[in-house]
Symmetry: C2
Subunit: 150 residues, 2 copies
């Protein structure tokens, strides 16, 4: 019975695909134009900054960011090469490591946010009222996996 999507479902899906791609592209372009790293770096730096001194394990980053494991592994290698994060051995698990953001990483994140935040404000904040934005968040929240109760 749910085999064939209804026209409203198709339309909403199509818009979601198109708009999200467009917005990502715009935000990426803005970062590039400012000579800053791509969005993926921001996502990771953001998570690490929120985690604070304790840092995070790579597998925790894969959970929170939706990036694949091997993707995080190599992304962290690049971030480390740039001095934005540091890898620390973790005491009670010889397999693992803890990733902590460095001062330089924090600074990079700050500079990225100046550009990224402006993109968000322009692309989304200026086009919908706060009530509409809340409505959008609520609808999107229902599409999450697992479906949250909200």
């Amino acid at each position: 019975m749910t085999g064939i999507p209804s026209p409203p479902a198709i339309k909403a899906w199509a818009r979601l695909m198109r708009v999200s791609r467009q917005l990502v592209e715009r935000a990426e372009d803005a970062l590039k134009d400012s000579g800053l790293p791509p969005l993926a770096w921001y996502d990771v730096l953001h998570e690490l900054a929120e985690a604070g001194e304790g840092g995070l394990r790579p597998f925790q980053l894969t959970e929170r960011t939706l990036f694949a494991q091997y993707n995080i592994s190599r992304l962290l290698a690049r971030l480390e090469a740039d001095g934005l994060v540091e890898k620390l051995p973790v005491a009670d698990d010889g397999r693992g490591q803890t990733i902590r953001v460095t001062d330089k990483g924090r600074e990079t994140r700050r500079r990225m946010w100046a550009v990224y935040g402006r993109s968000i404000a322009e692309l989304v904040g200026s086009r919908l009222s706060n009530d509409e934005l809340d409505g959008l968040s609520a609808l999107l929240g229902r599409l999450r996996d697992p479906p949250a109760l909200e």
Copy 2:
């Protein structure tokens, strides 16, 4: 003044990014599990099927699908290698070509839709009412570029 995004804007943006990535991933996985080509192929085959016998020029595909020019160029090469599309010289423009979907391409699209459509129905259609879906489409429509009047 629009430099710093409001909290509702940030939340809506974050959900949009996360949900859209999650949904794409789910849909891609479903196609892969059925041994079918990726979503990008569907997008192109869909546009070409809609265009009918007249076909489309590659640059028209880049406009409609948001894929970069070089991306379309290589995607078409793969589709042609698989016999899903054919490239025809175009009479009044020696630089260009017309891309037309083949019967095999139409058949592949049909088989992809059986899976893709089910994903849409499950991931979106079954989670929101038709009114909610329409509301979502309307809100997303306001985020398009250029901002449509709707």
